[in-house]
């Protein structure tokens, strides 16, 4: 009995120590997602897409597989979110089970959590609705697929298996290593609103692609054509939640991961398609393993001082610095870039300077306070493709000269000063001469 008591007490003690380590979700200090809910419309997807899921698991993600119409589905419990990320590989589901619907998924993204959504050769209205919330417009024709008569993969007969190599040029989103082989795609087309600056085409179709029903004859020219068709798009919301929307579920499948590619009309034959590298790198980006920035506080002071003053005077010389770190997936590394800018802003930027970096995460610059007084802000607004947006500001007032801070003697007025002194001397001499002449 004493042993049992000791055992239970030691277990309690150990769990008390372990409790802080069992962080189940992402946090400010550790922005990579942890628990991911995977919704499938067919459990066989677990095996047909096993390579993709196993790469996710090997990176430490906690995947929770559920059928899309499972009646016990829930994203939240008692106001807390249970998952950090959501993968919806259920293109034909008309209605989610449980407490899930398109509104709850929109709220999920609004809370800063990430989403991978995929359609396939067909996309239900539910999936189209979720994509529309994220700024992505699937082709209205539900039987249409992407067809390309000059960029298709030679292994396929009906030109619906596209070999796409028009990737976005971004090392953050797609990794430093260039994806050599084309990416195989078979699915539906979608387009993006050109005025929406939150969405981005990651994999575009070639100019010869179009979206139409492959089994029937075309009666009128297709609506979606060329590079307006996006095959895979991403969206980074203003709260830095990331969404990947793909028109093809087969893009993530083991079959396409393993298959070789030869693009029609090109002599290059690749043993392995670019799908696995593409999907892996994209999943790293969407789950915040890459491209996530954090800023320390803005520090400013007069040249030669170290304390931050409560107010500046016009034409003061000041130094400004900020620390920016980038999450590497495991730790915070110094961010290195040469395009960070700071504004000295009052209704419009009076000073705009590019910050120089010491490559250890500190960005600094120095400038002269402009000749205008008022309440200014130091503003850093950084929106680089693929990185989280930084929007930092710090307010500081600027005062004009005090009455005794002007120059004491104005050089232009030296003749007048001289005239006064000669008048005084002249009077002195005159009074002597006048009084003592004889």
């Amino acid at each position: 009995e004493a042993n049992m008591m000791n055992l239970s007490r030691s277990v309690a003690l150990i769990s008390l120590f372990l409790l802080p380590l069992l962080s189940f979700s992402f946090s400010v200090d550790n922005p990579t997602d942890r628990r991911v809910l995977v919704l499938l419309d067919d459990l066989s997807l677990k095996s047909s897409h096993s390579i993709f899921f196993s790469t996710l698991k090997s990176r430490g993600f906690d995947l929770d597989f559920k059928l899309a119409d499972d009646s016990k589905l829930a994203l939240q419990r008692y106001g807390q979110y249970l998952y950090d990320g959501l993968i919806i590989f259920a293109p034909s589901t008309e209605r989610f089970g449980g407490a899930l619907d398109s509104k709850s998924i929109a709220d999920f993204v609004d809370s800063g959590r990430d989403l991978i959504l995929s359609a396939d050769t067909s996309a239900s209205d539910l999936i189209r609705g979720i994509a529309l919330e994220c700024g992505v417009d699937f082709d209205e024709d539900s039987s249409a697929m992407v067809i390309d008569h000059s960029s298709f993969s030679l292994s396929d007969g009906d030109h619906t298996l596209i070999a796409a190599d028009d990737l976005v040029k971004s090392d953050v989103i797609l990794g430093k290593t260039k994806i050599e082989a084309p990416v195989l795609f078979r699915g539906v087309a979608h387009s993006l609103n050109p005025t929406n600056n939150l969405v981005l085409k990651v994999l575009s179709a070639s100019p010869s692609a179009y979206s139409a029903n492959p089994s029937s004859k075309l009666s009128s020219p297709p609506q979606l054509t060329g590079s307006a068709i996006s095959l895979v798009s991403v969206m980074q919301a203003r709260n830095n939640a990331r969404v990947v929307i793909s028109g093809s579920l087969q893009l993530f499948s083991d079959r396409l991961f393993r298959s070789g590619v030869q693009k029609a009309g090109s002599p290059n034959k690749y043993e392995k398609s670019g799908n696995e590298q593409f999907a892996t790198e994209l999943s790293k980006w969407v789950f915040h393993e890459r491209g996530h920035l954090k800023a320390g506080s803005l520090v400013h002071h007069r040249v030669g001082e170290t304390d931050e003053p409560a107010i500046y005077r016009i034409k003061d010389d000041l130094e400004f610095s900020v620390e920016i770190l980038e999450w590497s997936g495991r730790s915070w590394e110094p961010y290195v870039a040469d395009d960070l800018q700071v504004q000295f802003y009052m209704m419009s930027p009076y000073v705009l300077k590019t910050l120089s970096t010491d490559k250890k995460g500190m960005f600094h610059t120095s400038f002269k306070v402009p000749d205008v007084y008022g309440v200014f802000q130091f503003k850093v607004e950084y929106e680089k493709l693929g990185y989280t947006t930084l929007s930092l500001s710090k307010q500081i007032p600027v005062r004009p000269y005090r009455h005794n801070e002007y120059e004491r003697f104005i050089p232009t007025a030296y003749p007048y000063y001289g005239a006064c002194f000669t008048t005084m001397a002249g009077f002195f001499v005159f009074s002597f001469v006048y009084l003592y002449h004889k």
Partner: protein, 131 residues
Amino acid sequence: MVKSTSKDAQDLFRSLHSAYSATPTNLKIIDMYVVFAVFTALIQVAYMALVGSFPFNSFLSGVLSCVGTAVLAVCLRIQVNKENKEFKGLGFAGEFDSRQYALVLLGLVHRDCELGMGINWSLFPTANTIN
């Protein structure tokens, strides 16, 4: 006709010169001082015409101190001139002392103006304080 006008001018000038030489020395000393003061004022006006009126207050102080001392010197000359009947009995020292007092006040005001507003500074900013 021309020759006669020039001869008239020469005669005029010579008569003025001879009349002026008859004035007492002390008056001549005052006259010299007046000329010096007015000349200094004119130099400052010429300078202002060249470089513009910034800083205007310094210009004013310079010119007005010169003009003021010239005016006070003229007052002294009027009082001291023996041909003026109405200024008797004040005595030599009286006129000079009052003039000195006036000049001290003038110098004080003028120094305020030239050396950057002085007392005026703390009351209100003049035009020159706004850059």
